[in-house]
Symmetry: C2
Subunit: 200 residues, 2 copies
Amino acid sequence: MDKKDAVREKIITHALHLINTKGIGQTTIQNIMESASLPKGAIYRRFENKELIVLAAFERAGYIIWEHMVQAVAQAPSTIEKLLAISAIYQDAVHNPPIPGGCPMLNTAIESDGTFPELQKLAAEGYTNTVKFVQSLIEEGMEKKELRPDVRAYSLASFLVSSMEGAIMASRLTASNEHVHFNMDYTRALLQSFAYSDPN
Amino acid sequence: MDKKDAVREKIITHALHLINTKGIGQTTIQNIMESASLPKGAIYRRFENKELIVLAAFERAGYIIWEHMVQAVAQAPSTIEKLLAISAIYQDAVHNPPIPGGCPMLNTAIESDGTFPELQKLAAEGYTNTVKFVQSLIEEGMEKKELRPDVRAYSLASFLVSSMEGAIMASRLTASNEHVHFNMDYTRALLQSFAYSDPN
């Protein structure tokens, strides 16, 4: 395609919002039609069924979160600050997450488990890619001698990403950002314990 | 009631299994009837609607997980081992979690968010009670001089519980227990850094 299909983009935007706030099971094509103010035909000409809309919405979510991560990292002056900046993307998980409804990877992971294998596969790839991105930052920090050479980059990356996801769940569940902030505090302490030489 | 209603118990058992593996949205009263081999009347005489079954199933899940935690803690010889034993409840999150389908609190937290306030409230209470239980173990460890006196018991408890939940999500999503094991490794290192005096 030469130019973007604006209607397709609009369908995906509204579908993502609905799916991430209400869940896949609670979102119907009728809901998407109403939210986007589009006739049924406009949707069915572009997507054969709801599953295809859901997959496209998840892909869109991936781009949005990726943008947030790249920006967070670009502005941070050191490896440890880069890693903390990623955690900080969800510092207001309750009221202002990057996408309304919380983390789409977390929500999708839970909702697709055992029910939607193709989507679960996409979400698993999203998790693995996030871990690999964080791993590459850690390895860069080790090369730059900001982090100790005995750090295990892959397992640390997995721990940072999964613990952040758990904290987002806890904060959204209890409507209190304190859990995300506790996660940031312990993550900072953990990373500082891995610093090559304390800058203080 | 003097004696337990065995049919009610059976309905809850089958409902919990279905809900925790397929999700609330994908579980119908028809599914529960078929799974439990019970006629519709047997269910409706005990539960007015699906929501009440879901709430009862979540309560049952809470008892089951609670039992696992109490047992894990009872067998462990020290505070740090008690805390690690709680993490180990989900060491085979992929193939053999305490309840098929993963952690019911995590699953419920995500699925009830924005759609089922009464259930979300129950799940939030479940999270808070788990954190308080872990906090009480930490405080006991501080009193016994197994943990350092400057440990912040509440925030550490929250971090331990939320990071464990995130690791369960990651392991179930990717069908690999490595993420849960990484969580246990970093948790052990963190707790050892808080040990009052190293026993080695």
